[in-house]
Symmetry: C2
Subunit: 265 residues, 2 copies
DNA sequence: AAGTGGTCTAGACCACGGA
DNA sequence: CCGTGGTCTAGACCACTTC
């Protein structure tokens, strides 16, 4: 009898996977069920996408979020730590939890793997040569998950390290998200931070395919190198926080003094 | 035996950061203090290095490990999950926790980023051309953290994908750890699994530097390609579980039909 | 001193896989 | 059926930062 009473008390209080739980905004029954902490992760990500918290802003503390989502503080913590390990959030003891900014040497560098031989990583400057609008080619449309005749904005840049051209880049952006870019007067060197602050599009993951190529006449003109010299061609698809492709870029990189660096574990 | 010794060092049931804790083998006072779960991570890693559990073997369950290390089950769980995310362990619900094996498509692939264009990842076969012993050059000694005149074992291989040579590799291994390799009759295609099972050396992290190069006469002979064609040269340093460099390799890869793939997040 | 995230513990129940 | 890891909660204390 005591056992029964105890059980009924527990189930009203806050049981794990109680039926009441399914009335909660967070929980779903059946096959599509996700653990609560994953649901919290998704909710928080969605709220960032919706700009409830902007990059650099501080989130409420764990207990406030816990009561908002109707879960315990420990579950919120697990979700926040998971988002921290995927670089969406930054946590600082004694301070708070912040939406990561793609700025400085922490967040940005990891997507700039081209290093001068024997040197420390350094962010190159960029010289913007043109901004145009085109109809996406088949390859570009596929990479950006666009329809056949969708428009894209095309940027052509040269990147400069130590007063020397090192990379020639062609960048394709979906017109539907980036059309305001055409009116922009000053497109900065650090595009990913610019995307984040001006278009609310944060680069979350990238996929680089690397090939070796010979310098064409165009490369010679762009990079001031000899015809037929070997170059690294890096083809990149960048995905946003909600896993939609947001940038397609082809970078042709001098390889005589620079190398592409990867660390895996 | 180790278990008994370890248990004898463990002080009684302990509160968090109690003074008694500092008598525990796991805890250290002062500046070098590490959280308990990190200490458990290090201990478990060390025990794997010492072969208390071999690759593929199952560890004791969380409660047994907890009592052995004198911490709570939750702390052990945090340590085991962390080691799982760094690919040292593999956990399967309902089964147990295992030391990761560098085999099959799960553990091995992540270190083979060369993909046929438009194809799915596939492990290449290898043709071993020579095994020799040399004195390490300055560059090799530096990469492998060896003394000036230490010896290294040098393997030269060609790798084959779909009946075609795609990579020419030169591999340098510290003689002190790999000397038994000289007596080996059958060196298999999958070296990292071989290192793990025969030499108790598990590749944990790699660092690849990628450059574009022109095919030399040697490349022409090795890969059956045209002189002056562009190649990817991948220079790799592989580190073991205890972060010591264990392999230095230079791979010259055909780039006409293959590309090197990186995903970052 | 107050507030934050970080660590640690304890205990409950669930889901999976094998006997 | 049992044992495993997975999820969730609750509550304690520690360490860092700012005021």
């Amino acid at each position: 009898m005591q056992l029964i009473l105890l059980l009924s008390f527990v189930s009203t209080n806050l049981p794990y996977m109680n039926e009441n739980r399914f009335d909660n905004k967070l929980s779903r029954p059946g096959l599509a069920f996700q653990p609560l902490y994953k649901q919290v992760e998704e909710q928080v990500t969605q709220l960032i996408v919706e700009q409830r918290w902007k990059p650099g802003e501080m989130l409420p503390n764990e207990f406030q979020l816990a009561s908002e989502f109707g879960v315990s503080q420990g579950t919120v913590r697990k979700a926040l730590n998971s988002l921290t390990s995927s670089k969406v959030l930054t946590r600082r003891q004694g301070i708070g939890t912040f939406v990561s900014e793609h700025t400085g040497h922490h967040g940005l560098y990891r997507f700039y793997p081209l290093i001068g031989d024997g040197k420390n990583p350094e962010l190159p400057k960029a010289e913007l040569l043109s901004i145009t609008t085109e109809t996406a080619s088949k390859k570009v449309a596929e990479a950006l998950a666009l329809k056949a005749k969708d428009k894209v904005i095309v940027l052509i840049r040269r990147r400069i390290l130590e007063d020397e051209f090192c990379i020639a880049e062609t960048i394709y952006l979906p017109y539907k998200w980036f059309k305001a870019l055409l009116d922009e007067k000053d497109v900065p060197h650090t595009l990913y931070h610019f995307y984040q602050t001006n278009f609310n599009l944060t680069v979350h993951t990238i996929r680089d395919s690397i090939k070796a190529e010979l310098a064409t006449q165009n490369d010679v003109d762009m990079l001031n190198i000899g015809l037929g010299e070997p170059l690294l061609e890096v083809t990149r698809i960048a995905q946003s926080l909600n896993d939609k492709p947001m940038e397609y870029r082809i970078s042709r990189c001098r390889s005589d003094k620079y190398h592409y660096l990867v660390e895996l574990n």
